[in-house]
């Protein structure tokens, strides 16, 4: 009962009253599945997101598969990124989770020496203590001030009662402006199929029924953690401190404030889905300081109108009657 009123109280941000959850959890007195699998109760009006700890990712792609299964998304044509096991390459209208494989070698191995049988001296040939493999499961960041949502001319992209950014498929007209607005290359228009924009929904349908998102549930190492953003941030800061104490150069990408002096996501008001990284953001194909495109809109429109008016005045002079 009160649950339903809460839902309605948080609805106006999204513009329309959301449907009530199928299950009235308070009335049945039962626990949600998310409480068992993620240790979090899902309630309308709280900020939910992911904390993705890339140091725990093993690149198994279970999240990608779980996402595609739950959301009934077709597989992509296999297109391996050179020198990696990344077969989805980037986000697309049908790939909403994407695992990157970054291979860093201290020195390029001397292939000729390795090929010669007499050049083989056992394992020290391969001794390369600095080499490492960075794996990262990337996802829509559900930005606090989402550029896609600000760009959307139809109001199709809304913020839900779980503070996620959601594309209403029955309204999107496929103009593609969100696609060029997103600073992370997440959202894409399915030009070959239904002509509408698609991206991660933070499993809106699952959240409404008390289930954690499919990717987080399937992650075997808990690299992807689902929860209330503030709690996740606390957990993440503990993890960063722990890693740093052990000499790992860890930091959070997307925690909102300018944590690092040249890595700052505050233009977007922080990201509901944030990441623990151990190398520069660009290594993971993330911009160090993502910008908010709409900051340029009003200023630009005014500058354009003023110039157009000035040009009009100038041209008006040239059109005057010939002096004769």
């Amino acid at each position: 009962m009160s649950e339903q009123r809460d839902v309605a109280a948080h609805a106006p941000r999204a513009g329309a009253a959301p449907l009530a959850s199928i299950v009235d959890w308070e009335r049945v007195g039962a626990r949600q599945e998310a409480e068992l699998t993620a240790g979090v109760r899902i309630e309308a009006g709280k900020r939910y997101g992911f904390f993705t700890d890339t140091t725990l990712c093993i690149g198994c792609k279970a999240c990608e598969v779980a996402c595609k299964q739950w959301n009934q998304l077709p597989a992509e044509e296999v297109d391996l990124v050179p020198l990696t096991y990344d077969n989805t390459r980037s986000f697309s209208a049908t790939t909403w989770r994407h695992v990157r494989f970054v291979e860093q070698l201290d020195e390029q191995p001397d292939l000729q020496a390795i090929a010669k049988p007499w050049g083989w001296h056992g394992s020290e040939q391969w001794a390369d203590p600095g080499s490492r493999w960075l794996m990262m499961s990337d996802v829509c960041k559900h930005c606090a001030t989402a550029p896609c949502m600000e760009a959307c001319p139809t109001g199709s992209i809304i913020r839900t009662e779980f503070d996620s950014v959601y594309v209403q498929q029955d309204i999107c007209n496929g103009c593609g402006y969100c696609q060029v607005a997103c600073p992370f290359g997440v959202i894409e228009v399915a030009t070959e199929t239904d002509g509408k924009a698609h991206k991660c929904t933070l499993c809106y349908d699952r959240l409404r029924d008390g289930l954690e998102p499919a990717c987080a549930k399937s992650c075997p190492t808990d690299s992807i953690r689902f929860g209330v953003v503030d709690q996740l941030l606390e957990e993440a800061r503990v993890r960063v401190a722990d890693l740093r104490a052990r000499g790992v150069t860890a930091y959070l990408y997307g925690s909102g404030g300018p944590l690092e002096d040249d890595c700052d996501t505050s233009a977007l008001g922080g990201l509901n889905c944030f990441f623990l990284l151990i190398d520069r953001p660009e290594v993971y194909n993330l911009p160090a300081v993502p910008q908010r495109p709409s900051e340029r809109t009003l200023r630009g429109l005014v500058a354009g109108m003023i110039t157009a008016l000035a040009i009009g005045v100038g041209v008006g002079f040239t059109l005057r009657r010939d002096a004769r």
Partner: protein, 314 residues
């Protein structure tokens, strides 16, 4: 990066990229549609502006007003068709008008286009009625004409300039870095190609008033000079982008075409004479199209160049 000082292994800034995979998406727009719309919408706005100015400050040439209204209607109609066809779901184009949000340049543009389309439609209706002899002439008719032109003036100026802002309000580095300049540049290009269209019409079927063509040529020269200056200045902020140093031949050709047409058109407009005026008009119109293709193309390539994004987002 302060937080990373403790460890040994941090990649140098800008040296990094993920195997050249672009970190942002290029536009999904079908080729040609969007630059075509920018161009046609610009011609409509420019033609409307110049005939309104002639009404306010010039000679009130009724023949020019009539031609300007037909050009605006035709170009705006064609441009709108291109814009709607480019949507993933064209049948839902009216969804753009279910909300009003000035932070979305696309939404603001849809409203501007609607307002301008209304004024142009009204003007065409009055014009057709008058040509059929249904509406009178005289003082009342002149006041009505001026009222309609003024009604469409602000939306017209908007339609001619917002298209540049539409591009610069994105995450595409080549457009974003030129924010503040693309709006003015497109406004100038719209004016010059609108005047160019009228100039060509006047040379193919000469105006009854002998001074109209001369005055249009002067206006053409002024508009092209402003366009040339703005296209020079507006390129500076994006000149440091890595994608600029790897510009392919076809893009360099487009650049030469856009800037060259404007420069030669300017000289022709200044020279005067029928053939020179015709050439000036044609060059202004062609240069406007080349400019729109150049800007959209360079943006598409910039979106595909990871180093451009690193340069922009830092």
């Amino acid at each position: 990066m302060k937080g990373l000082e403790a460890g040994a292994r941090v990649s140098p800034a800008h040296a990094a990229s993920y195997m050249g995979v672009p970190p942002i998406k290029a536009p999904s727009w079908k080729p040609g549609m969007i630059p075509g719309y920018f161009w046609l919408g610009g011609i409509a706005a420019g033609a409307w502006l110049v005939v309104s100015l002639d009404d306010l400050a010039g000679e009130r040439d009724e023949e020019l007003l009539r031609a300007g209204r037909w050009v605006a209607a035709g170009a705006l109609g064609g441009g709108t068709v291109l814009l709607i066809t480019d949507l993933g779901r064209p049948e839902r184009f009216l969804n753009m008008l279910r909300v009003a949000r000035p932070r979305s340049a696309m939404n603001a543009g849809a409203w501007g286009l609607t307002a301008f389309g209304g004024a142009v439609g009204l003007a065409l209706l009055v014009q057709v009625l008058r040509d059929l002899g249904g509406a009178g002439r005289g003082a009342n008719a002149a006041a009505l004409d001026r009222g309609i032109q003024l009604l469409g003036l602000a939306p017209g100026l908007f339609v001619g300039s917002y298209t540049g802002v539409l591009l610069s309000s994105t995450s595409v580095p080549a457009w974003a870095l030129r924010s503040g300049w693309l709006g003015p540049l497109f406004a100038a290009a719209s004016t010059s190609s609108g005047i160019g269209t009228l100039l060509v019409i006047g040379e193919l079927r000469p105006w009854r008033s002998s001074s109209t063509a001369r005055r249009l040529a002067r206006a053409q020269a002024a508009a092209l000079a402003i366009e040339l200056a703005l296209s020079h200045v507006s390129e500076r902020p994006a000149a440091r982008l890595p994608s600029r140093s790897t510009e392919p031949r076809d893009e360099r050709a487009l650049r030469a075409l856009a800037h060259g047409s404007a420069a030669v058109g300017l000289l022709c407009a200044l020279r005067g004479g029928r053939d020179a005026r015709l050439a000036a008009g044609l060059l202004a119109v062609a240069g406007g199209l080349a400019l729109r293709f150049l800007v959209t193309r360079s943006g598409r390539r910039s979106a595909g160049t990871p180093e451009d994004t690193w340069e922009h987002a830092r």
